[in-house]
């Protein structure tokens, strides 16, 4: 664990009854970071988030926040905020009272509550809606109330469960900007859970990719997008041509294939995005099976001795008709080098 760790999870194992959801997870997050937990449903990302909030007691392991072990601290004393996917606003209370809920429990003086709630609502642009009931607001507005309700508590960590998934495209962009602004203005450490790689890439400082209750890769959006280290991550971020490698050669359907450049011996696999495949020259041959036009590019599906290959070319170039024989190259320099091929 580095000294800079603000929130750290050590050997964290989480279980629902006999089912282990997360196993031996180690993670440390710096103060003020915006981290995304990214993965398919059932990967343990939400479970991990709930354990940070204190809604789930770990089977084993340790969670510490700001230098204190909070593993056994109950959820209501953790200074961790959570914006639920469904927002979980209190239907019987006005917007103002929803935001004031936690402050009232803290028994703050009425004038201070008034000031903080007003400021909180103002910061999410909902001052005019203070007297409304949650049911009278749109989904996007409800979410901003939920955000304000958590933020007025000045939490050490703010957790967000799928913050953008229930919003339409326009609101999504708005909320993304909103979250970045809140994070910049308050410096709060934020963790959000998502299954959408686009959300994670565009919003996070650092992405934790999870699969089957374990971390697959941690890195900046650039790392994850350009340098996936496992087959799963490569596939998840859009590398569609993925091959295992052994002894410096690619493992294809009908035997090992030598590449023009030698590979480091510990390479477990190589992966290329469709647009990294060079068409029209190179050591490999394939037949165009199908083509699809997507505006700026054309995508081809090739039948090759290596198996099916997806390639992409600028739409400005002449189209290759189905049935055409093509030479192509898989340039090693462009490929993502996978360390694990599980």
């Amino acid at each position: 664990m580095s000294d800079a760790a603000f929130l750290s999870l050590e050997k964290l194992t989480l279980a629902y009854g006999d089912t282990i959801a997360v196993k031996d997870l180690d993670l440390s997050i710096r103060k003020g970071e915006l981290v995304a937990f990214l993965g398919p449903s059932g990967c343990g990302k939400t479970t991990t988030m709930r354990s940070i909030a204190g809604l789930l007691t770990p089977a084993s392991g340790r969670i510490s926040l700001d230098g204190t072990d909070i593993t056994r601290v109950s959820a209501n004393r953790r200074s961790v905020g959570l914006v639920f996917q469904s927002y979980a606003l209190f239907p019987h209370l006005s917007v103002f009272e929803n935001v004031a809920f936690g402050l009232r429990l803290k028994k703050l003086p009425a004038s201070e509550i008034e000031t903080r709630v007003t400021a909180g609502l103002k910061s999410v642009g909902l001052s005019k809606f203070a007297t409304r009931k949650p049911a009278e607001l749109s989904g996007g507005q409800q979410q901003r109330v939920a955000l304000a309700r958590s933020m007025v508590m000045e939490p050490k960590v703010l957790l967000l469960d799928e913050p953008l998934s229930n919003l339409d495209a326009r609101l999504r962009l708005e909320m993304r900007t909103e979250l970045q602004r809140v994070q910049k203005e308050t410096g709060v450490t934020m963790i959000f859970v998502t299954h959408d790689q686009g959300e994670a890439l565009s919003l996070a400082d650092r992405i934790v990719v999870m699969l089957n209750g374990a971390i697959e890769q941690i890195g900046t959006p650039e790392d994850i997008y350009n340098r996936p280290v496992s087959r799963f991550v490569a596939d998840f971020v859009g590398f569609e041509n993925i091959f295992a490698a052994e002894g410096g050669k690619l493992k294809a359907a009908n035997g090992p294939i030598a590449l023009s450049e030698s590979l480091p011996p510990d390479t477990a696999g190589l992966a290329w995005r469709p647009r990294m495949v060079t068409l029209g020259s190179g050591p490999f041959q394939g037949t165009v099976r199908g083509a699809s036009f997507s505006g700026s590019t054309r995508e081809y599906l090739l039948d090759t001795p290596l198996g099916a290959i997806k390639a992409e070319e600028d739409a400005g170039l002449a189209a290759h008709q189905p049935g055409t024989e093509l030479t192509f190259d898989l340039p090693v320099a462009k490929a993502a080098r996978l360390e694990r091929f599980g």
Binding site: L55, N76, S86, A88, F90, L105, K106, R149
Partner: protein, 259 residues
């Protein structure tokens, strides 16, 4: 007859059959004659006035009110936590518990009354008031659990977690965010329970004893001795009370959503 004529006619007959007796009772209670009869002989309010002077009616009305209010309140005290547990947690035998709780609705009241008398009240020497109180609690419990469960199922459970994360204890979350949101369900259950208990005959019939009986039982025995229109007047008053309660409940709670 074509369906266009036939169905309104059937509807009319059904309504007459259901509501007709009520009008007969109201008319009979306004009779000027000395015996319970329809059509009424003359018009008078003397029987309505007499209801309030009969000592046993006053006593049994108090017993019935106590049972309806106290029994229903007790059923809610037991039923709200039970509904909460049944709707929020996957309990072993949860469905079985739900079925057992519903039994008093399904089993005929005569059987419930006889069983209570023969196997609980007599062997253990229960005091009559206590026996009636427990019986009415048990009879109202199914309605309490059903109606409160319906409200709870409509309420998202994550608002409790949200309250906890804002600093509330688990119990605090229940009282601060669950109770206010199921309040109208609880009121609906209370009204339904009150009316059920107040109008209960078969179970009370077995359990009523010397000096302690509910109003419907008292009316039965009154009629055996005195066959005057005051029973009709009392019935009409009770019917108007029930109608009034349900009307207010519908007006302020949207009662029909819960039953």
């Amino acid at each position: 007859m074509t369906p266009r004529v036939f169905s309104p006619l059937v509807l009319l007959l059904v309504i007459a059959f259901l509501i007709g007796p009520f009008f007969i009772i109201v008319a009979a209670s306004l009779s000027g004659g000395e015996t319970l009869a329809f059509p009424p002989q003359g018009f008078s309010l003397k029987w309505v006035a007499k209801v309030f002077t009969v000592e046993s009616f006053r006593e049994s009305f108090a017993v019935s009110m106590f049972l309806a209010i106290g029994g229903t309140a007790m059923a809610l005290v037991l039923g709200i936590p039970a509904s909460y547990a049944l709707s929020r947690y996957k309990l072993p035998f949860g469905e079985t518990v739900r079925t057992i709780v519903s039994l008093p609705i399904i089993v005929p009241g005569i059987i419930v009354g006889l069983a209570l008398l023969r196997y609980i009240v007599v062997p253990f020497g229960f005091n009559i008031t206590l026996a009636l109180f427990l019986a009415h609690t048990a009879l109202v419990l199914p309605y309490a659990v059903r109606v409160v469960s319906a409200s709870l199922n409509n309420l998202r459970s994550d608002i409790e977690e949200a309250a906890v994360l804002l600093g509330s204890s688990r119990a605090g979350a229940f009282f601060r965010v669950v109770m206010p949101n199921i309040r109208s369900g609880i009121l609906a259950a209370f009204i339904l329970g009150f009316v059920t208990s107040f109008n209960q005959v078969p179970v009370s019939l077995f359990l009523s004893g010397p000096g302690v009986r509910t109003l419907p039982i008292d009316m039965l025995s009154y009629m055996e001795i005195t066959y005057d229109p005051s029973v009709a007047a009392l019935s009409a008053l009770l019917a108007f009370m029930s109608i009034g309660i349900v009307f207010l409940a519908e007006r302020f709670l949207g009662f029909s959503r819960y039953v």
